[in-house]
Subunit: 245 residues, 6 copies
């Protein structure tokens, strides 16, 4: 019964962010049977589409349309269950109370086992840190029994912060490395959907390979480290609850 | 075959620390079949035995002997596999190169799946932070192929920092809550072996009950949080490596 | 003459926060002759009233009314001089420029010797950290000679951050412990007014007892520590100015 | 050709901030041939003009007019190329989307080689930290190819944070000391334009002299430190890119 | 009866540190009837006596003798009760177990109501941070009932960190400002005993005047701030315990 | 005259560290005419030579000899002026007072314009952080006029921290990116001298390419960023002193 699938939710400031930063986590969990929803707050149409804007006669609508197409192709390559594009505008991204309610609606509908979003600090891109602030605020609203009473309230899903560009400048410190070797080809395929940012294809491939080195160092080191060819790193906001260390 | 048991290692600055701070983790993992070794670097004979010193005619040897007895009783109550007391002196605790080699020897013999020690900062008790520094240094030496070549080198076990007294002053932030409800009676029994610190029995019982509240908040909150009556918190030094978030 | 009483001001995001977090400070200072004003920005009607919402036929107004009643009873138990409920809505709490002006008006009217509010970070509850941001912003406006010229401007009262739930996750570090033993019965009575959160009565009683242990450790330790049975902890935002260390 | 001049941009929350905090940097770069633009978001009319408000019959317009006059005189003393006063109001400072667009317009017109603004934290003055947040957000928008397509987009200028009052409380840590000895007389002249804050004239003179001591300590110490009589300190947000260490 | 005087203890890495950094606190408390003991771990003979070493025919003993003389004169000017010079060597300062026992002996003898030492980080001068580490370790040993049983154990005195040079680089943040106006002349006289560091006389005078500005800002601001002409700042390691906020 | 060459000094805990972490900086400055001295405190013979120890009949001397050979070859490939191997032992690295004096001697002899060493925190490898502590301590001693009076004392060279493995775990944040494109072939050649760690050759090549991306982002971004193919990142301990921002 599909309604019993486990679920996950990615909150991405711009259309392409989910690909570079957690495409592996998406594909891996999709392959494990999770329904993964990706919520793009904007298309990154103004700020992350330089290549398109350099073309003659470009308009905001055309850029959005291109970016949406890329996002849809990438989502398909990754096995995304549902791609939700709220088209709220970027640079700067700003959400009204109603916009936030739409985000809450998605969170409640998905009832994610875990959520993914940006780092909490980013002086290069204030949209990113704003998206995380929104993710935390809307997670809280979704937990409120008095918000649209009668709806199923949210539990307490982990919020993982995916890897930003220039990690050290963002104060981002990964505490979890995920082996994405089994789905690497899917992530690479999704990456290649990002025609406008071809200079980053190899960049994020290198990131994935070097993160696999970190995975191995932490899974046992030279003595007994499990092999891993591609990995992604995540920082957890909340503590874990376990029955065994 | 017992030699295939999973193992864990606690490095405790003074004899009683392991009881208050991770007695539940010890008992729980012992109950799950782990061989848990507890390494007490000192007995806490000078600095943590005020009640004994207030007795007439007390000597250092008598204090150590009392403290050892208490530690042994507590270890038995918790199901500790091996209690190793190095008797290196306290207030201040100081390890020579040879002392560190003895610690390395224990680490290599145990080959722990995970290690437990103190917080990294403690302005009230410099022995505590020194013990953690020793734990990290000796973990590193135990991983070195050139240290006593031929011995089995250590993998990359997690080092969990157990809960200090006055957590906020120590900059300690738990990222893992462990449900110790099934073994609470054992932890309480071990606590009651600490005759000299009776004022802390109820203190740490309250800590365990309040940590259970934190466990529930993070395992699902009011909507779906799993029940838990007693818990312990831990901070991880190293990132985790996982196949699923 | 009552107009010469010393005063204090609590800024609480939701109606119940002031009880758990600084009920002792309120009762103690009231007993010392301070006029303590409590400003509740919202009732916590949507996000902190789960028990009420689980009742048949509940409405937002009924929840608010219940919560107001509880807050009033608790305020009375604590000896609050004035309970001001702004009813600005919660989850999320959001203040317009006019709302902030109302807060400034209260601050100026009270002219507090010190203020109390939430921790500066709270990923579980963004209303809490927003309230502190509001407290700092409105404190600043209240100090401005050009804001409603002619009114008495504010001095430089300390802003104490009271104890959040799960302190370590909030990055909250207490630098001041207040002995609330003389008024504990009042705090407990106020706590028992919170019918909807009965699971927290014992929780915060345990917190108060354990904080008393911290009080004693810091007031002299085992050698000469003053006794204390119940305490509350606070973090100061601003430096103190003294004539003796 | 003047259009090839190097440029710099100061974003100042209130009219006087640029004088105390980076008047030396302005005068020095002006003397080196930079066109330095100063953007005052407000006049500080409500919150930083206590002396004026204490005068009989003062009005908001008169205060603004006085403050503008002072700012213009100081700007002239420093050799400011362009003083832009947006008059957006203070205590609190708040920018609408349109206001931010005006800031972006200035940034793009100036195309600064580097920018200057406030510290990222200031519990005494939330306008200051808000101004820095605006500076980062508008810098990002100015870099967006899709913001007013066809305009020249911004490169990646450094954002230096100038020295706040009570530096340690703001978490501000200078990583760059600038020798302003050659233009000290200009900075002092600009400072003396601030008639309303005479108590700070000597204060910031002392700061400049003590910062010169820091300059010398870091330029070579007692062995070989270059002399310097007046200096200013700055904290960089972004990393530098160099061809030699 | 003099034996009932309140007491304080300064632990200074080098002979001159106590003058610049807490000379005001010493003189003020001496004037209030405290017996203030100053413990100089070294004379700063190798690292902080450049001017002496530039003289022809200088020897280590002569430098020490000069430095001791200066320290004695300064101590007298400040009203120090007891100046203890351990002569343990500087650059680097290193204490053996026996040296630490001598420090503990002094602490126990003095039984200070509060202690003063250096900042916890100082990349320019590792002796400074080492001295603070020693202060914390020896404070702990002095509290141990089993250290020289029978002696009076130490209570829980605050450890204040006095102001380092280049405060921001040391991560030092003052939380307490002390008005030293009544004893400023004494501090200045002590400063002038430091013949070898004349370039710092005015530097630390400026620091004291600017810290007085901070005192006023925090004691009430422009509205009601108490006047103060000279002040010193301190950072507390431990929380305070109070009966009123 | 060669004696007027500018100089630099690398302090490396183990023989290979300087290659991976700052080989580019070494080769670049050598090419610019600097005399670069590399000081290896140990050979990394016990802890960083796993591949050698897996060979039959290996001894400590053979490992050291192999490691020395590799280091010499790498140094030659990079154009190192002087390779100094102190052979102090590793895992753990420990320096006596005499060992530190030898380090000071090297520092004074070189009189470096800047120094390079490890990150200040490394829970995986305590030798690394110990080496930085030594670098700071010995830099301070080298500045002391009373250490071997008559020798030329050290000025105030910057200490750059080079890139550790798993940067985020070490709390390392680069503030300076150096373009090493002109000397990349030399760094790669030096890397290939490290026969025992072939698995890291490609790893650090990927690091250098990705750091070039960061260089470009910070040198002007998509609008005007200067090109760069290989880069290294560094964190500065001390502030810079400049005449132009």
């Amino acid at each position: 019964m599909p309604e019993t699938n486990k679920t996950a939710l990615v909150i991405s400031a711009h259309a392409a962010d989910f690909v570079w930063r957690c495409g592996g986590a998406i594909a891996l969990h999709a392959a494990k049977g999770y329904d993964v929803t990706v919520l793009c707050l904007s298309f990154g149409e103004r700020g992350e589409s330089a290549k398109l804007w350099k073309q003659e006669g470009m308009t905001l609508d055309k850029v959005k349309s291109e970016r949406r197409k890329e996002a849809e192709q990438a989502a398909e390559a990754l096995g995304v269950h549902d791609l939700v594009c709220l088209d709220l505008g970027d640079y700067p991204l700003e959400l009204s109370r109603e916009d936030k309610n739409r985000v809450v609606e998605v969170i409640r509908k998905v009832q994610p086992a875990f959520m993914l979003s940006h780092s909490q600090y980013d002086p290069y891109n204030t949209d990113h840190m704003y998206a995380t602030q929104v993710a935390l605020e809307c997670r809280m609203i979704a937990q409120a029994w008095g918000h649209n009473p009668g709806e199923k309230v949210l539990g307490a899903p982990q919020l993982y912060l995916f890897e930003p560009h220039q990690t050290e400048q963002m104060g981002w410190k990964p505490d979890t490395f995920l082996d994405i070797t089994p789905v690497w080809e899917k992530k690479r395929a999704a990456i290649e959907c990002m025609a406008g940012q071809e200079h980053l294809w190899e960049y994020y491939t290198r990131v994935a390979i070097n993160r696999a080195n970190h995975f191995k160092r932490n899974s046992g080191g030279q003595a007994s480290g499990r092999d891993c060819k591609y990995a992604e790193g995540f920082q957890s906001i909340f503590p874990r609850t376990v029955d065994e260390l």
